[in-house]
């Protein structure tokens, strides 16, 4: 058995780089430091494997040779007039670079999963800018952490532990002790309440209930960092927060703008905004202005609900306003481990972070028109290549229907709903487990992914498969050009 240390976790945008993987032969037998999601991936990745190339013949997927699968993929892409190349967020930057070359070669649209994740955030950042930072700064210095429209406990389980409230920073203390004390007190109070109810001691019951009401009021010690959660429903993250504000679905924009007004010392002529009493918003505004370094982490609760891009616009503008009084930052909670890398590689290659259309021979970018869901809803595409993603399980029904109506190539290491609907399936390796590469953490810090075990025979890295398809595409186009020249001669 051997232990591989400092492994970067290939699951969410936290990209935790302190994972230890215990390997016996070529099998991962244990994983240390990973969250539930990371541990599940390291221990289960090989249980649902796509091991052989397949093509659809007579309505069924049948095994084939790698050469035939690559040839068929290249033919589909060359024959298509408007193919989409989608996914990219769970593979390495090196593979994405080849993918962009392929998209340009076939004149297609290349889009990554940020299109249904933080696409509106990217658009808002392009409109109004971003006060950004690395997570290390937050860990050591932030004394006010606001999670807005996100639930890191479920989607980024180690975010609080490694980067925010539950970590011991150089200048900020962890909340662990306070939280444990609070849970202990809550538990004791519940037990006493139960005893009082059973014994019908009315006076004791009233006192406990009054105590709970007092507890609910908002009192914080100055020297400790604080956590605020704003969401449409109470989540596990909200349970850990010092302050939870429940906003009505689709009303985030109003609440953000109300906070901007309060920060400018303006009076609001209403009792509540978006389901939140104005007094609570005033308290939050005071807390924001009074902190030394604050940050808003926002999730898809803002990007997917009514307002979309305008919600992010308002959140960034609020951050900008706050910088008149104190130091305030904002960061999107990116989902897949390399969705940030997909944006970055796409930007340095084409000038645009996602939804890049090469159909005119040069990169065009117009999300809403060149983004993959819009293309599918209009029924404009006539083929698709999906890599490191599973749109059949993540896109709305109407978009999936359009996707599977046309020839579909899937490059995947595992069997997914999308691979089951494909016309060509190419088996790849798991980046970060079997193949090394580069990924970008949610704060734009590049990290090296390791290959800790060997892939099964016949499974090739995404980068290798894309290069094979690209070579084949160029060969087919070369043959076509040669035969045209011959006819002309």
């Amino acid at each position: 058995m051997r232990k591989v240390s400092a492994v970067v976790c290939p699951v969410c945008g936290c990209c935790c780089d302190d994972i230890e993987v215990i390997v016996d032969g070529n099998t991962i037998v244990d994983v240390v430091n990973a969250c539930a999601l990371g541990a599940s991936k390291f221990l289960n990745y090989n249980k649902h494997r796509q091991r052989r190339p397949m093509v659809r013949k007579g309505g069924r997927l049948v095994e084939t040779s790698l050469e035939e699968a690559v040839r068929r993929s290249a033919e589909i892409l060359v024959e298509a007039s408007y193919p989409i190349l989608y996914g990219w967020s769970s593979t390495s930057c090196e593979a994405i670079r080849v993918g962009l070359e392929l998209a340009e070669e076939v004149g297609g649209v290349i889009d990554n999963t940020s299109t249904i994740c933080h696409g509106p955030s990217v658009l808002a950042v392009q409109d109004v800018g971003l006060s950004g930072c690395t997570l290390g700064q937050i860990r050591h210095r932030a004394d006010l952490i606001i999670y807005w429209g996100c639930n890191p406990w479920s989607a980024h389980p180690r975010h609080m532990e490694r980067y925010t409230a539950l970590t011991e920073g150089r200048f900020q203390r962890s909340l662990w002790r306070r939280l444990i004390l609070r849970f202990y007190t809550d538990s004791m109070r519940k037990k006493m309440l139960r005893v009082a109810e059973l014994s019908l001691i009315k006076r004791l019951l009233d006192r406990i209930k009054a105590g709970r009401a007092e507890e609910a009021s908002y009192t914080l010690r100055r020297e400790e960092r604080k956590v605020v959660v704003v969401d449409v429903r109470r989540t596990r993250t909200a349970d850990l927060a010092d302050y939870f504000l429940r906003v009505e679905p689709g009303k985030d924009y109003e609440v953000l703008q109300a906070l901007r007004a309060l920060i400018r010392d303006e009076e609001l002529d209403v009792d509540e905004v978006g389901g939140i009493p104005v007094e609570s918003l005033e308290e939050l505004a005071d807390l924001m202005i009074g902190c030394r370094l604050g940050i808003i982490f926002f999730g898809v609760g803002l990007t997917m609900s009514e307002g979309k891009i305008r919600n992010i616009d308002a959140a960034i503008s609020l951050t900008r306003d706050l910088n008149r009084y104190t130091k305030f930052l904002i960061m999107p909670m990116r989902g897949h481990f390399n969705v940030t890398g997909a944006n970055i590689v796409s930007t340095w290659q084409t000038g645009y972070p996602y939804a890049v259309d090469f159909s005119q021979g040069y990169p065009r970018y117009n999300p809403g028109e060149t983004s993959v869901v819009d293309i599918l809803l209009r029924g404009d595409s006539d083929a698709a290549l999906v890599i490191a993603s599973d749109p059949v399980a993540t896109f709305p029904r109407a978009a999936v229907k359009s996707l599977v109506e046309n020839p579909l190539i899937v490059i995947t290491p595992d069997v997914t709903p999308t691979s089951l609907m494909a016309d060509v399936v190419l088996p790849s390796t798991f980046v970060g487990i079997e193949t090394a590469g580069t990924t970008y953490r949610m704060d734009h810090v590049p990290l090296p992914l390791k290959g800790v075990v060997e892939p099964p025979e016949g499974c090739l890295p995404d980068e290798e498969l894309l290069k094979m398809i690209l070579r084949e595409v160029r060969a087919i186009k070369g043959e076509a050009a040669a035969s045209t020249a011959l006819v002309k001669a």
């Binding site: 397949m54 639930n151 989607a155 449409v232 896109f395 029904r397 978009a399 069997v415 089951l420 609907m421």
Partner: protein, 141 residues
């Protein structure tokens, strides 16, 4: 049986994230995402019990999932289905020119039902063209 107007939210859960890594064709994945978290009072209002099937209908379609009591209520009028092929059937595909479909805050109705929950294979067959499925078998070894 009564129906109730609600706002449908979708999102991630720990179990959804954990079991998707095991495989989306696994029973565990289906059990973690083909569920609808509801406010206990709302469940009583429409005569639903924990673990019974509930039909969630929007103007984009309807899907049957299992009703479970929300552990972090009260949140009357709001129901939650984790991301997955089941929630995709009922969410709003409209992007409003941003590229992003509307996956949260969709107007919906819920009602108890005796209809069964569709398996993932059935969803692929019925909703997406009825192609014959022929992927590799999952090996739990």
């Amino acid at each position: 049986m009564d129906t109730l107007k609600v706002s449908l939210l979708t999102g991630r859960t720990v179990n959804q994230g954990k079991w998707k890594e095991l495989g989306k064709l696994s029973r565990e994945y289906m059990e973690s995402v083909a569920v609808c978290e509801m406010d206990p009072q709302d469940m009583r209002r429409v005569g639903l019990r924990e673990g019974r099937n509930v039909k969630v209908t929007t103007r984009f379609g309807s899907v049957v999932v299992k009703a479970v009591k929300s552990k972090r209520g009260p949140h009357p009028g709001k129901v939650f289905i984790p991301y997955g092929p089941w929630s995709n059937i009922v969410v709003d595909p409209e992007t409003d020119g941003t590229g992003m479909p509307s996956l949260k805050g969709v107007e919906a109705t819920v009602e108890p039902t005796e209809e069964p929950i569709m398996s993932l294979e059935k969803i692929l067959m019925r909703c997406y063209g009825g192609r014959s499925l022929g992927g590799e078998e999952r090996t739990d070894a």
